[in-house]
C-alpha cells in the first residue's frame, strides 16, 4: 500500500495528563473489543458484530477533541465510537447478548447502538445513512445557532454510496457544522480499493471538488488524530463549514465476526499485510510515547491494562447474566 500521509506536526505542548487519558481510553476500547470478540466465539451473542480492533485511535482521538454537547453518528463497525464517546461497556455487552440492559434494550444489536446522554446518538447498518443523518443534525444546530458540531464516522466503502455525495454537497452549500471522518481501512467487506476506485484516486481530492476542506492523517496515531480534530473542530465551530478527515487505519479481524482471516484461510489480504499493520498498533504506539516521554513505565502501563481488563471482564460477565427483555415489550416503541 502506497499512501502519503499529510505531515501533521504533533505539538510538544500536550500535557502528560492528556496523553495518559488518551492511552487509558485506547485501552478501554481495545480491551472491551477484544474481550467481546473472544467471548463472541462462544455463540452466545447472536448479533452480527463488526469488531474494530486496530482502528481505536480514530475513535479516541476524534472523540477526545469534542465537547460533551457535540454529537456522534457512526456505521456498522460502531463499538469503538460508542465507547470512545463515553458509552458504557456493560450496556454494549448487554446489547450484544440481547439483554434488557443493552444500550438499545437488546433490540438494536451490534450495529444499532445509542448512548444519547454522552452524545453518541446512533449507529446504523446501511452504508452512508448516518452521513446524511449527521448532516441533518448539523442543519438543526445551524438553525438554532447552537455551538455544537455533528461528527460522523464511516468507512471508505461508504464513499462508494450516493448518499455520501448528496450529503457532503449539501453540507458545503449550507456551510453546516459537521465533521466527516473517513476510516480508510482499505477494504469494504473483503473488496480492496482497486476494484472500487480508479487508479490514482485520492479521496481528499474528491472531497475538495465539493469545496470542502480535507486532510489525510495517520489514523493509528491517537495524538495526530486528536490534534487534527481539535484544529478542524475549532474552524467548524467558528462557522468555517464542514471538514473531511481521512484517517488511514486497518481492521485486524474479519469483516464481521470474531475470527482472524487466516483462521478461516481467507486470501483477500495476506497475513503479512495484516501483521505489518498490527505492528503499527495504536495502543502500543501510545504506550511507547508515554515511556519515551518518561510519563509512564512499562510496569505502569501493565497496571493500567490489568485494571481496565478486570473491569471489562466483570462488565461483560455481568451482561451475560443480565435479564432478557420481557415478551410484553415486543410492540413497545412502534
Amino acid at each position: 500500500m502506497n499512501v502519503t500521509i499529510d505531515n501533521v506536526q504533533t505539538k510538544a505542548d500536550v500535557g502528560a495528563d492528556v496523553l495518559v487519558l488518551l492511552h487509558k481510553e485506547l485501552l478501554k476500547v481495545r480491551l472491551a473489543e477484544e474481550t467481546l470478540a473472544e467471548r463472541y466465539r462462544e455463540q452466545e451473542m447472536r448479533t452480527p458484530a463488526h469488531f474494530g480492533a486496530g482502528q481505536e485511535a480514530v475513535a479516541v482521538g476524534v472523540c477526545q477533541a469534542l465537547l460533551r454537547d457535540d454529537v456522534v453518528f457512526t456505521h456498522h463497525r460502531s463499538h469503538n465510537h460508542y465507547l470512545a464517546k463515553g458509552g458504557s461497556v456493560y450496556e454494549l455487552a448487554a446489547e450484544l447478548y440481547g439483554r434488557a440492559d443493552g444500550c438499545s434494550g437488546g433490540r438494536g444489536g451490534s450495529v444499532h447502538l445509542t448512548a444519547p446522554k454522552v452524545g453518541f446518538i446512533a449507529s446504523s447498518a446501511i452504508l452512508g445513512e448516518t452521513v446524511a443523518v449527521a448532516t441533518g443534525a448539523a442543519l438543526a444546530f445551524q438553525m438554532d445557532n447552537a455551538d455544537r458540531i455533528a461528527v460522523v464516522f464511516f468507512g471508505e466503502g461508504a464513499m462508494d454510496e450516493g448518499s455520501f455525495y448528496e450529503s457532503i454537497n449539501y453540507a458545503a452549500v449550507k456551510q453546516l457544522p459537521v465533521l466527516f471522518v473517513c476510516e480508510n481501512n482499505l477494504y469494504a467487506t473483503e473488496s480492496p480499493l482497486h476494484v472500487r476506485q480508479a487508479p490514482g484516486t485520492d479521496l481528499c481530492e474528491r472531497v475538495r471538488a465539493f469545496k470542502v476542506g480535507a486532510r489525510r492523517i495517520d489514523g493509528n496515531d491517537v495524538l495526530e488524530v486528536l490534534q487534527a480534530t481539535q484544529a478542524v473542530a475549532k474552524d467548524i465551530r467558528a462557522g468555517g463549514g464542514p471538514y473531511f478527515l481521512e484517517c488511514m487505519t486497518y481492521r485486524w479481524r474479519e469483516h464481521v465476526g470474531p475470527h482472524f482471516d487466516h483462521e478461516l484461510q481467507r486470501t483477500y489480504r495476506s497475513r503479512e499485510e495484516v501483521e505489518a499493520w498490527m505492528a503499527r498498533c495504536p495502543v502500543v504506539r501510545s504506550g511507547e510515547r508515554l515511556m519515551r516521554l518518561g510519563i509512564a513505565t512499562a510496569q505502569q502501563l501493565d497496571i493500567w491494562q490489568g485494571e481496565i481488563q478486570a473491569e471489562t471482564s466483570a462488565d461483560v460477565e455481568k451482561a451475560r447474566m443480565a435479564p432478557w427483555p420481557e415478551i410484553s415489550t415486543l410492540f413497545q416503541y412502534l
Binding site: 454529537v71 453518528f73 443493552g102 444500550c103 438499545s104 434494550g105 437488546g106 433490540r107 438494536g108 444499532h112 445509542t114 444519547p116 446518538i121 446512533a122 446504523s124 447498518a125 446501511i126 445513512e129 448516518t130 452521513v131 446524511a132 443523518v133 449527521a134 448532516t135 441533518g136 443534525a137 448539523a138 442543519l139 438543526a140 444546530f141 438553525m143 438554532d144 455533528a150 450516493g162 448518499s163 448528496e166 450529503s167 454537497n169 449539501y170 452549500v173 413497545q332 416503541y333 412502534l334
Partner: protein, 344 residues
C-alpha cells in the same frame, strides 16, 4: 361553513401548525418557488421566510436522512416530493431508519417526527414514472404512518395530525384533488390518524376507497341511488394503521363490499381490505369482494390508453351493481370533470 380547495386546505393546515410550533420547517425541491408545490407551500414561504421554507437539491435519499437527523435534534421537518415516484430514492432512509428508529433504539435515541409529503400524479400523460401511488409498499412497514386525504377537510386535518405525531408520517396527496373544493373548518383541528371516515351512510353495499377513489365513489353513489342502490362509502384516510373496525362494521350492515384503490391489485391496499373481509367478515358477506384498481400495467401516456387504464366512478358503480347481482350495464360512462390541465 366556508369552502376551500384541497390545496388551500393543505396550505392552511401547514401555516397554522407552523405558527404554533417553531420547530417545523419545510424543504424539498421547489418549495419556495412562486408555484410552491402547486400552491401548497406558497403562503408558508411568504409568511415564514427562507429560514423555515427553503429549496433543496434533487437529493431525495440524503434529504430524507437529513430530515431524520434534524428531527432527532428536535425539529419537525416537512419534506416534499412533487411526485411520489421520486420518494423511492429516499426509501432507504425512510424505511430502514426513520420507520425503525424509535423501536430499534428502544426509545432512547429520541423520536423521528418527520412528515413526508408526496404527490400522486394522474392524467395529462403523467406516464409510468409520474403517476404511481406508493401506499402499499409504504404501509407494509411497521413504524410508518401512511395517510391519504381525499377531501379538503382531511387535507388540512391530516397534515395537522402528522405535524403533531412523534413518528414519521407519509402523506400521499393526489394532484387531481388539488382543485376540489369542500367545507373546511377554520379551527386548528387534527383529523385522527388511524380512523376511517364514513362519508356516505348507506345500507346496500360498502364501498371502501382511498384518496381520489373516495371522491369517485361519491359520484358513483349518486348514480347508484338513481338505480335504487343505497351505497355506504368509507374513505380509508389512513392506510397504516388500518381502521379495521369501521370497515367490518359497515360490511356487517351491508353484507357487500367493493374496494377501490388508486394503485394496483397485487399485494395492494384493495387486497388488504379483501383479506380483512375474508378473515374477519366472512360470515357477513353475501357475495364475493370486488377489487377495483389500476390496469395491471405501468401508466401509459397516450390519452386513448390512459382513458382505459384508470378506473372511474362508473367502474365503481358497475362493480357495485354486479356485486349486488344487478345488471352493471344499467350505468353508462360517468366522467368526472377533470380540471387538471397539465403539464405537471
Amino acid at each position: 361553513m366556508r369552502e376551500l380547495t384541497y390545496v388551500q386546505a393543505l396550505s392552511e393546515g401547514l401555516c397554522q401548525a407552523m405558527e404554533r410550533d417553531p420547530s417545523i420547517f419545510i424543504t424539498g425541491i421547489a418549495v419556495d418557488y412562486p408555484s410552491g408545490i402547486f400552491g401548497s407551500t406558497t403562503e408558508a414561504a411568504r409568511r415564514f421566510g427562507p429560514a423555515r421554507v427553503f429549496d433543496a437539491p434533487a437529493m431525495e435519499n440524503a434529504l430524507t436522512g437529513i430530515a431524520i437527523g434534524a428531527a432527532v435534534m428536535g425539529k419537525r421537518p416537512v419534506i416534499t416530493h412533487p411526485r411520489n415516484d421520486f420518494m423511492l430514492l429516499g426509501f432507504d432512509n425512510l424505511i430502514n431508519l426513520a420507520a425503525k428508529w424509535r423501536y430499534m433504539f428502544n426509545g432512547r435515541a429520541g423520536n423521528v417526527p418527520i412528515v413526508v409529503r408526496a404527490v400522486i400524479g394522474k392524467g395529462w400523460g403523467q406516464g409510468a414514472t409520474h403517476s404511481q401511488s406508493l401506499q402499499a409498499p409504504l404501509a407494509h412497514f411497521p413504524g410508518l404512518t401512511v395517510v391519504m386525504p381525499a377531501f379538503p377537510q382531511d387535507a388540512k386535518g391530516l397534515i395537522i395530525a402528522a405535524l403533531q405525531h412523534d413518528s414519521p408520517v407519509v402523506i400521499l396527496e393526489h394532484r387531481s384533488l388539488y382543485t376540489v373544493s369542500g367545507e373546511v373548518s377554520e379551527a386548528f383541528e387534527a383529523t385522527p390518524l388511524g380512523k376511517a371516515n364514513t362519508v356516505r351512510i348507506g345500507s346496500d353495499i360498502t364501498i371502501v376507497a382511498t384518496s381520489l377513489m373516495a371522491y369517485e365513489a361519491y359520484h358513483a353513489a349518486d348514480e347508484l341511488a338513481r338505480h335504487g342502490v343505497d351505497a355506504e362509502i368509507i374513505d380509508l384516510r389512513t392506510i397504516r394503521p388500518l381502521d379495521e373496525d369501521t370497515v367490518l362494521g359497515s360490511i356487517k350492515k351491508t353484507r357487500h363490499l367493493v374496494v377501490a384503490d388508486t394503485s394496483w391489485e397485487l399485494c395492494g391496499v384493495s387486497s388488504e381490505i379483501a383479506a380483512l373481509a375474508a378473515e374477519k367478515g366472512w360470515h357477513h358477506l353475501k357475495a364475493p369482494v370486488c377489487r377495483i384498481a389500476l390496469a395491471n400495467a405501468p401508466a401509459p401516456v397516450s390519452k386513448k390508453l390512459e382513458d382505459v387504464f384508470y378506473p372511474k366512478a362508473s367502474t365503481i358503480a358497475r362493480a357495485a351493481l354486479a356485486t349486488l347481482g344487478a345488471d352493471p350495464n344499467r350505468v353508462g360512462e360517468l366522467h368526472r370533470e377533470d380540471t387538471f390541465k397539465g403539464p405537471y
